[in-house]
């Protein structure tokens, strides 16, 4: 099990060494997100604006329009929701000649229900929906620390606005160090022919577990890591629809407007097949101690057990 925030912090310091234009901003959560480490290394390129997310976002834009690569970070619940106007009007909308949006990377931690004890007020199940509707933004949900490190480097390399949401808890490794990450390209973790499970974030592990148990039953599942929610890998989804005939999506986000919605939108236009969306059931979260988080997830059906159950059921609905 490894920690996404530590990986993010390590990646930032590496980027800071490679590129003097990398700047990091935080909003009184810099110890928690470990971005303060970057501040120790590069004090004049690190800004802690206090509990002021709107200011955090707009300042990042001002730095970016002046040639900096801004990484702005805090908890997921406070960034898209609290400052969506600034994200839209100060980062996404302003487009210098020949470019789309400003060079700001919003990277958040503590996404989804697995935040746990802090309760529903702190469990964002809306951020993917908010971020993917804004033009010029690209949206990533990493499944593990390898993803975090690769995607952080990728965002620094690629011009433009990105949103990346990490999980609070430690996560098992999903990808190998040699795994390549490309914008808009999902990663096939397991091939299969009877159903496709499209997952992101911490639910990728659950999808793999479900696929494994289904294999015992003779059901062959394809598992996709849909880390790039926007742009979405339409090609791989169409292929999955054609070849496996049904899709189950799973995410730590409201089923309304999240990754599952994005998949449904895509497939219904390219090759319509039955789809089942697993995620927060359009209800808010609630407190759960770390060891109770699985119970909270289970309440919303976000378990490998339920994924397997939904795969079994959806197969009967195949066209």
């Amino acid at each position: 099990m490894t920690d996404m925030r530590s990986e993010y912090s390590k990646s930032l310091i590496q980027l800071g060494k490679e590129n003097p234009n990398v700047v990091v901003l935080g909003a009184d959560t810099t110890d928690s997100l470990k971005t303060s480490e970057f501040g120790k290394e590069f004090p004049n390129r690190f800004f802690n604006v206090g509990i002021a997310e709107a200011n955090l976002v707009t300042m990042s834009a001002g730095l970016a329009v002046s040639g900096k690569i801004s990484f702005a970070s805090t908890y997921a619940i406070f960034l898209p929701g609290r400052a969506v106007d600034q994200i839209r009007n100060n980062i996404a909308y302003p487009s210098p000649p020949g470019k789309k949006g400003l060079n700001v990377k919003l990277v958040t931690s503590h996404g989804g229900l697995s935040v746990g004890p802090d309760g529903g007020s702190h469990q964002t199940i809306e951020d993917i929906a908010i971020m993917r509707v804004i033009p010029n933004f690209r949206v990533f949900i990493p499944a593990d620390t390898v993803s975090v490190s690769k995607l952080t480097a990728l965002m620094a390399r690629e011009y433009g606005p990105f949103y990346m949401r990490m999980a609070r808890s430690k996560t098992p490794l999903i990808h190998s160090d040699s795994q390549e990450f490309q914008i808009g390209k999902a990663i096939t973790l397991r091939d299969g022919s009877d159903c496709t499970i499209a997952a992101c974030g911490i639910t990728v592990r659950m999808a793999l577990e479900a696929a494994e148990s289904l294999e015992q039953e003779g059901i062959s599942c394809r598992v996709l890591d849909m880390f790039s929610i926007k742009p979405l890998d339409h090609e791989i989804l169409e292929k999955a629809a054609r070849e496996t005939g049904c899709i189950v999506t799973t995410e730590e986000h409201n089923i309304v407007g999240g990754m599952g919605s994005a998949v449904a939108e895509s497939v219904s236009e390219s090759y319509p097949v039955p789809i089942k969306r697993i995620g927060a059931q359009d209800m808010f979260g609630e407190s759960a101690r770390d060891n109770e988080v699985p119970l909270l997830l289970e309440k919303h059906g976000i378990t490998s057990f339920n994924i397997a159950k939904q795969v079994r059921e959806i197969r009967s609905k195949k066209l």
Partner: protein, 555 residues
């Protein structure tokens, strides 16, 4: 290089006219807030801002962030005057396919910030300023925020942050026009204090009620408070701000929404509305009819000119007219450049130095160095060559170029070629030499003749009336075309300079209103006259206009 005071004013006027043109063509837009910040932008674009319209992305340029983005017409019109794009492009404002979007947008090269959603420009500016510091660049960031948008909490988040990071390469302006979309700021969300009743002028006349400066000071900012329509005050404030290290500066500029067009002034309706086509020519005439009052201090106590300057300051004079007499060109002797140098630190009000001396070319530089903002020399003691020399010295030193003729002097033909770059023409209406003389009535006829010569040679400066101007004749002198009025005995000779100046203004205003009503009558008869009167809904204006129109037989 910056322009002199007069040319800055001229460019501000050009920009204001473009705001009218653009919003009229668009059928919507925000002239009110464009006019309240017109002098601030004019002073920045024409004097302080480093930029290159041919290379808008020049790395070392200063950055101008218009946080109150709805005042886009004000920004675009200044950019047009500065040469970023042709002035005619303002007619594409807010139209499909235009670079001139409803709110400032990076689509238009030279625009630094996409405004529109309020309260964010200061945070953005801090980002730009911090980036400059990281890169050890010395360009400056100027940010204009509105008082309405100061309701936004983010403004105060940014205020704290700028202070924390000692962002001294950022200067903010607060365009304190006291009006937001719904009504007066002090009714919607007071920055100073609650307004009881509906007379906003009560609030901005009483400095003891202003709390906005205290707010910013308590956030750790260097605060400079000025009259935001006085170019000289803005100029000095910017210089002071740029010299202040270790803290950010905010220049709180008290302004009037819709400034310069009477029916828009202080009228919340003109926050976001465009003028109709039929009144545009009248508005343009009104903009061309801005005027200034210049008390002449030699009419006061010559043994205590310092006190006379102070009286001009408290009287809110636009200029201070300094008559320099050498006892040769005119029989009287007053003072020379040494005295002007002594007086200069007492005020930032422009010094309007009128040299009634022989061989001005020999001494003009002394008067430049003494701190004159405009220097006027006489036709009787110059010729083409010496005036050419004086002209060049003044232009190089950003001092206004003035030329004067005595009552018996016709405008010499050799001067015609200079007319388009002369900033001020003084038409003497008394024989110079002493104060207290009577206005020479023949001047009216002379002015009539002069106006056609001036028009023919593209004169675009101000005509200054000097000599015997008083409350009785000032209206007709204004109608003759004079826009600056020197007041000797009629102002400085009075006990209360402030009320004397106020009376002068009221008298000119009356004449101006008549001129505008006459224009309305000429263009659209009684209907347009009534429409024009009907636009004036604030205060007593409508009743006063009705009376003038009735007296003139227009209604």
């Amino acid at each position: 290089m910056g322009l002199n005071y007069y040319q800055i004013k001229k460019n501000i006027l050009r920009a204001r006219k473009l705001v009218i043109k653009g919003t009229n063509a668009a059928g919507s837009g925000h002239p009110g807030g464009s006019f309240s910040m017109a002098e601030i932008l004019g002073c920045l674009f024409n004097k302080h801002l480093k930029f290159d319209p041919n290379n808008p992305q020049w790395e070392d340029r200063d950055r101008l962030v218009l946080s109150k983005g709805h005042a886009a017409p004000g920004l675009f019109s200044n950019m047009a005057v500065a040469g970023y794009f042709p002035e005619s492009e303002i007619e594409t404002l807010r139209k499909f396919g235009s670079r001139l979007q409803g709110h400032p947008d990076l689509k238009c090269p030279g625009v630094e910030f996409c405004g529109g959603s309020l309260g964010t420009g200061l945070s953005y500016s801090i980002g730009i300023a911090l980036a400059a510091k990281i890169d050890s660049k010395d360009h400056h960031v100027y940010t204009i925020i509105g008082d309405g948008e100061s309701d936004e909490g983010q403004v105060w988040e940014a205020a704290m942050t700028a202070s924390k990071y000692k962002v001294d390469n950022l200067t903010a302006f607060l365009d304190r026009n006291f009006i937001q979309q719904d009504s007066y700021t002090e009714k919607i969300m007071p920055l100073d204090e609650n307004l009881e009743g509906s007379d906003i002028s009560e609030m901005w006349k009483d400095a003891s009620r202003w709390k906005t400066g205290d707010k910013w000071r308590s956030f750790g900012w260097n605060v400079i408070e000025i009259d935001g329509h006085r170019v000289e005050q803005i100029d000095v404030a910017i210089t002071k701000a740029n010299a202040t290290k270790g803290v950010p500066t905010i220049i709180i500029s008290r302004t009037i929404k819709g400034k310069s067009v009477e029916h828009m002034e202080d009228n919340p309706q003109w926050h976001g509305k465009s003028p109709d086509s039929d009144v545009v020519p009248i508005i343009n005439l009104e903009l061309d009819s801005q005027f200034m009052i210049a008390p002449s201090i030699i009419a006061g106590d010559m043994t205590n000119l310092e006190n006379e300057i102070k009286r001009c300051v408290s009287g809110r004079a636009d200029y201070i007219h300094l008559d320099v007499m050498d006892g040769q060109f005119v029989p009287t002797k007053t003072f020379d450049h040494n005295k002007i140098k002594e007086l200069r630190p007492l005020t930032v009000i422009p010094f309007d130095t009128h040299l009634m001396i022989n061989e001005p070319v020999k001494y003009v530089k002394d008067y430049v160095d003494a701190g004159s903002d405009i220097i006027t020399v006489h036709a009787e003691v110059t010729d083409e060559s010496s005036f050419g020399e004086i002209h060049d010295i003044l232009k190089q030193n950003q001092v206004g170029v003035g030329f004067s003729i005595n009552p018996d002097t016709e405008l010499p033909e050799w001067s015609y070629k200079f007319l388009q770059s002369i900033d001020q023409l003084i038409v003497m209406s008394v024989v110079p030499g002493q104060s207290g003389q009577k206005y020479i009535e023949e001047t009216h006829a002379k002015m009539l003749k002069l106006n056609s010569i001036l028009k023919q040679h593209n004169f675009s400066g101000y005509i200054e009336a000097d000599g015997g101007v008083n409350l009785e004749n000032i209206g007709s002198v204004f109608a003759d075309g004079a826009r600056v009025f020197v007041g000797g005995g009629a102002i400085i000779g009075q006990q209360d300079v402030r009320s004397a100046i106020r009376d002068f203004r009221t008298a000119v205003l009356k004449s101006r209103r008549l001129g505008l009503l006459s224009k309305a009558n000429e263009l659209g008869g009684i209907d347009l006259v009534n429409k024009w009167i009907g636009l004036h809904v604030i205060g007593e204006k409508q009743e006063q206009l009705k009376k003038i129109a009735q007296e003139a037989g227009y209604v």
